[in-house]
């Protein structure tokens, strides 16, 4: 166990660039693919184990040490506030965490005493509006957030946006950018100390790939 480095790779849009970056740094999960039913891919020769994990679960795996290393979007790291290291900004997977509302909304106030905010990121949203001093009611949704203002479920949404197209198609406009997000390398706090030579080497190799 000591010499194997396990890496949690996120399913979804970060998977392809993650696998590609890892492989350029010499970490190859043979036959790895998001469509396969197989979840673990071993590189026995170089002592790596790649695990395919739902993107939202990557920080949990890494915090508990079920994976030594993982790749996760900054928005998830902010939302989940786990106790882990995030040594590298990997650069890919860029998007913005935004506040959006219907085109005609006057920002930040609406007529109602409490703004209703629909989001997949209740902690980020809560924190943002409380810093602004705006009383809100957070409505946690799991998908199609853009629908919420159109149906009267919420006045505003807090969501990710990369091109803004989905928003525009649903007659929503960006009212503020809370933060920018990219994929990060995250590392378990104990692993970096027990396996520090190998893990710092991996970090260095990945850093070289990003820069080069």
């Amino acid at each position: 166990m000591k010499d194997i480095i396990s890496i949690a790779v996120p399913k979804g849009k970060l998977m392809k660039p993650s696998v590609s970056l890892l492989s350029r740094a010499g970490i190859k999960g043979i036959g790895i693919s998001g469509n396969s039913r197989k979840l673990i891919f071993n590189d026995r020769k170089n002592h790596y184990r790649l695990m395919i994990v739902r993107a939202i679960d990557v920080p949990t795996y890494v915090e508990h040490g079920a994976a030594d290393i993982g790749i996760a979007g900054k928005e998830l790291i902010l939302e989940q506030d786990k106790d882990l290291y995030e040594p590298l900004d990997l650069g890919f997977g860029y998007c913005k965490i935004i506040v959006a509302g219907p085109k005609d909304s006057n920002y930040p106030c609406s007529g109602s005493p409490k703004l209703k905010v629909a989001t997949k990121y209740p902690n980020i949203a809560e924190d943002y509006f409380s810093r602004k001093g705006i009383p809100v009611e957070i409505i946690k949704l799991y998908g199609s957030i853009e629908l919420a203002p159109l149906t009267g479920l919420a006045d505003r949404i807090v969501d990710l946006s990369s091109s803004g197209r989905t928003l525009a198609e649903n007659n929503l406009v960006i009212l503020d950018v809370i933060a920018e997000s990219t994929a990060r390398l995250i590392v378990n706090r104990a692993s970096i100390k027990i396996k520090y030579e190998r893990i710092t080497e991996i970090i260095r190799k990945l850093e070289d790939q990003i820069k080069g």
């Binding site: 000591k2 040490g65 882990l84 706090r189 104990a190 100390k193 027990i194 520090y196 710092t200």
Partner: protein, 422 residues
Amino acid sequence: MKPFKNQRSSTPRGVTSLLPEAAFRKRLIEGSILDTFSRWGYQEVITPVFEYLDVISIGLGEEFLERGYKFVDRSSGRLMLLRPDVTPQIARMVAMQMRDHPKPIRLSYSENVFRHQDEHAGREREISQIGGELIGIEGPEADAEIISVAIESLKRLGIREFKIVIGHIGFFDEILSRTGIKEGARPEIHEAVLRKDTSRLKEILRREKIGLRGTGLVSEIPWLLGGSDILEKAEMLVKGIGHMEGIKNLKEIFNILTSNGLKDYILIDLGEVRGMGYYTGMVFEIISEGIGYELGGGGRYDNLIGGFGFDCPSTGFALNLERLQILLDKIRIGVEYKSVDLIITNGECTSGELFRVAQRLRDNGSRVIQMPDLSNDDLIKYARSYNIDKGVIVDKELISNNEIYLIDCKKGTRKRINIKEI
């Protein structure tokens, strides 16, 4: 969310009831560590489960005050706090009750602490801590002793693959103040260093208009991680910004540990500046292969006892018993669990005779269950279900010759032997 709305959970989340075997194993670990403390001359103390909030809060950081369980004292109306941390209690105890005791004082404890945790975070709200404090000496010898006791505690439990990861609060503070970083930016930098978040760190330093040299220096802190060479590297790095007390102190501690033959257990991480808010110097964490969290940690806290009105330097550490138990379970270290040594029942005899034989065996140190009128088969069946090896049948005829029937519950055989042979 519960699957059935009117179903209430029977125990609060984050607390555990231990069944006999788990309880036995927990006490075994606890006993071993307390014994290690005792061999180093640390005397156990017992602190109260709750305290007046306004008194104990002197020694508690914001985090614990927020996460502590509070309630109102019925008689005085004052707020009380279930202890979230033992060290401030010991600090109060030393300041108020042990002021005149000759120093140094070595104390140990094994207590539960209570800290609120969000649900589903996979963390306990009631934590068993065993710790030791070395009170009244300032030098590196005291810190080295505390670390040595921590190492020995783990070694005696059979744990081999672990590291004591040492950092220094002073080193970090010194660098920040020498590079001219404003007070207001420090918490943010502290957090970025703790998360080894180099990109955020650089961003903050750029915003704060810290020069190239300062930026290079501060953004290197999270990566001052490794063996003794890290201390040399750190020394080189800070050359030119003046004498650094923190590095000197760590080197001294490291040298003592090296000459005690404990070098291989030590890792330096100068970016690991977390822990209790009261730490002032060397800090450390105990990390082991096989578990993703620290097993415990400690550090020097020279101002805490002073907060209670008696200036006195001190250093100490604590281990998390639940995490140790999880780890030991994983690496399968531990003795076989035997609840009871034997079951005793009667053949033809009075209950008084049965009692006297059972008592005689207990006096000799055996753990004996007394069950009247058990058939041979039922005795064996019950014994096997609890992994008990032996059964005894007392018979009036035999006992007059000091003899009994001994049943080997594993094999199911029975023989006549003298009672002394058990």
